[in-house]
Amino acid sequence: MGKQVVQLNRVIIRFAGDSGDGMQLAGDQFTSRTASFGNDLATLPDFPAEIRAPAGTIPGVSAFQLHFADHDITTAGDTPNVLVAMNPAALKANLKDIPRGADIIVNTDEFTSRNLTKVGYEANPLEDGSLESYAVHPIPLTSMTVEALKGINISKKEAERAKNMFALGLLSWLYHRPTEGTLTFLKQKFAKKPDILAANITAFEAGWSYGETTEDFSVQYEIQPAPMATGRYRNMSGNLALAYGLIAASQRADIPLFLGSYPITPASDILHELSKHKRFGVMTFQAEDEIAGIGAALGASYGGMLGITTTSGPGVALKSETIGLAVSLELPLVIVDVQRGGPSTGLPTKTEQADLLQAMFGRNGEAPVPIVAPRSPGDCFNAAMEAVRIAITYRTPVFLLSDGYVANGSEPWRIPDVDSLPDLRVPFATEHNHTNADGSTEFWPYLRDPETLARPWAVPGTKGLEHRIGGIEKADGIGNISYDADNHDRMVRLRQAKVDGITVPDLEVEDPTGDARVLLLGWGSTFGPINAACQISRRAGASVAQAHLRHLNPFPANTAEVLRRYDKVVIPEMNLGQLALLIRGKYLVDAIAYNQVRGLPFRAEELAGVIKDVVASV
């Protein structure tokens, strides 16, 4: 007997529980099924830095939010329609974000007086009426799971751990998700542990059946697939897309990739991923520290490899001196900075965009470095290829500024046709490039390509090109040590001119009505929330334009012209106004900075409020 089916346009679900409750895994699985069903989606994993904070406490709460819809969406959503709270701490930590009327599924087994006291509940919120305005579904998830697994030869503790699968099964039923993929996933994950596999599958199926039989849920929901460009799709997270982008770039450049790295949150997954792909000639090296990671990458680049280093803000601070050396040596190098909350250790698992000025200026001397930033999880692929293109074409270190939000978030990704990817091959130097007055020839390591101003990439092992380079200033062209005043002035300007002259695509503006007087300008992972905010504003009748910077150094050539077209320019950033400072300084535009550093992405509704005020003021 089927239940009533209600069609919805979009749903936001938040899974929340203890760090050990498997909420990220349940969220990931729900996401994969939702992606393969064809909904558009965006996710926001939000977990503590501690691996296992004390059980049942607020600091130990780990959450995963998923927004899915039958139309194009760009954020993980502001306010969940459903909260799954596996314990009182998860309820308490998340309730403030849940709008009245939303569904709250709670695991009543965990609402013991001890657990309630632990998080400061004086009375049980399930009984004192404080949740009256929500649709609360009290379910003894743990004991029902243990009951369902009775016939399986596992300990009680192991049985209890399968409760996330029970919850996943229930949610999968509630939202009509396909189940096959989850079963396949479990079979792979627990292939060597048949009892645990049986437990997980049984718990998952029990959760599904519970939905179907209980009277607590009278309706089932359906969200139709979203219209998307034709093609083959997969679900893609930012760090995975970034790793794939680097591999693709290495293949298209026909240069082996070498990653020198040191583990750091939230960048380590790129090291893990690249380590799996040695068959593509990908070499990975876990160094003794951040400095050795980038040092080895630079040494590999010197030897003709595609040198990459991956890190987060604190690691960049340690790598700064080597980045300066790479600027001076003019060798290709990609520095991936998956930004997190700072300063210092800051908020390791939370997102922020506060390394822009560090990337731009964080070195001694005049040491310009190009900067590329992805706008969404899937876009990390393209941004990585672009960073490699710039690095090897112009022989320069390049910053790829991702952040925790795009790195851990995911979205449906249209799988590109390999042949359509850009050809990134560049020539290595093979012969002398300078003729002396007497007709003899030499190799000059700092003789530049007149168009790109790049110097030759002359790798050891090339006969006749033996030469010495170093961090000391070099004479223009010949490359010998030079302390000459005029030469230094010329070299500083040449290095700057090389970076300023990098060809980057023009800045595109989205202004559907064509009469906007307010421009929203952003960069990096804020694309989604800014885009959603603009759509909300437009639906409310406001005219607003959006432009999003992928290249932060150099800025696109038409940036000045775009900025001057609008009466007001608003720059929302997850920092205290770093892009705004650059824009004001370079273009003398009185940009309005809107800033938050909460470790979480902007809420679209909030940004829409900002837009409303600015539009009203022009």
């Binding site: 070498f258 000639g281 090296f285 590999a300 010197y302 046709d417």
Partner: protein, 352 residues
Amino acid sequence: MSESVDLGFPSLKLVPKTDGKQSAKDFKTDQEVRWCPGCGDYAILAGVQSFMPELGLAKENIVWISGIGCSSRFPYYMNTFGMHSIHGRAPAIASGLAMTRPDLSVWVVTGDGDALSIGGNHLIHALRRNVNLKILLFNNRIYGLTKGQYSPTSEVGKVTKSTPMGSLDHPFNPVSLAIGAEASFVARTIDSDRKHLTETLRQAALHDGTALVEIYQNCNIFNDGAWDPLKDSDHRDALTLRLEHGQPITLVDGTRGVIRNAEGSLEVADVAEVGLDAILVHDAHRPDPSTAFALSRLSDSMTLANTPIGVFRDVPRASYDSMFQAQLATAKAGGSADLGSLLAGSDTWEIA
């Protein structure tokens, strides 16, 4: 192909050979050498340049990488590929180059400040990994380029510009440090002894893996005479213990030698008293590092008495880069590298 004699350096088997005759002159650059007149670095440079042709390698496949300091100017004077990098980081940069390019012979030049102070971490990790690098550590027990501060090898009580009342720091013994860091090859030689320097370089070059060669080097401006007792013909033979594999370890003058005492420790005793048979025979290839370490502890850092010179330890251990390349080859042989299928993954859906 090669006209030079093939010494069969196992560590260099993948490096292309020279197709012509080489001489020391081929390794000199047109750059004016800018060390202070009388600096010990000149002797080392000349020694290295005259040794290089022995390797019989294509010049373009040799790379010298250095950090910062007086010694680190070395690459500018070698007509090979070279990089003068940043303070302390040469082993890291050289590691990235050596592990990705097995066809190169990679040499690192560093000093006591560069290698043991700011770059201490990279040095110990390079040694434990056993990347195929030859590291020449010029030890003059002083900071030269920054004009005369004490270094991590300066003796306690050293009066310098930064320690007017004498240095409080206990010095490192670079050989002990290297053995403690799992080095597979550790040697010590002296700038002024060309023959010994060359022989030590030869053995280092033969070694497959990281070879650390500590070179006692004189800074005649800021720490002149630091090693004089080991150089002065009146005293040196009575202070220097010669380490030669298979030979009894005695002072050069033969009067005293190394014995293992009842407690199992090493000590120096009169040969006449204990007899030559009691003198320890040097075994550089001994897998257990404890005797090599004990030898490194015999010298007195103040008087330099009983200073061992030669190869302390030279044991076979697979080099990091050979294992690194082997893993790569195994992976390449074991699976196809199709970018299209990588990007597609296994869980996809079609939108028509």
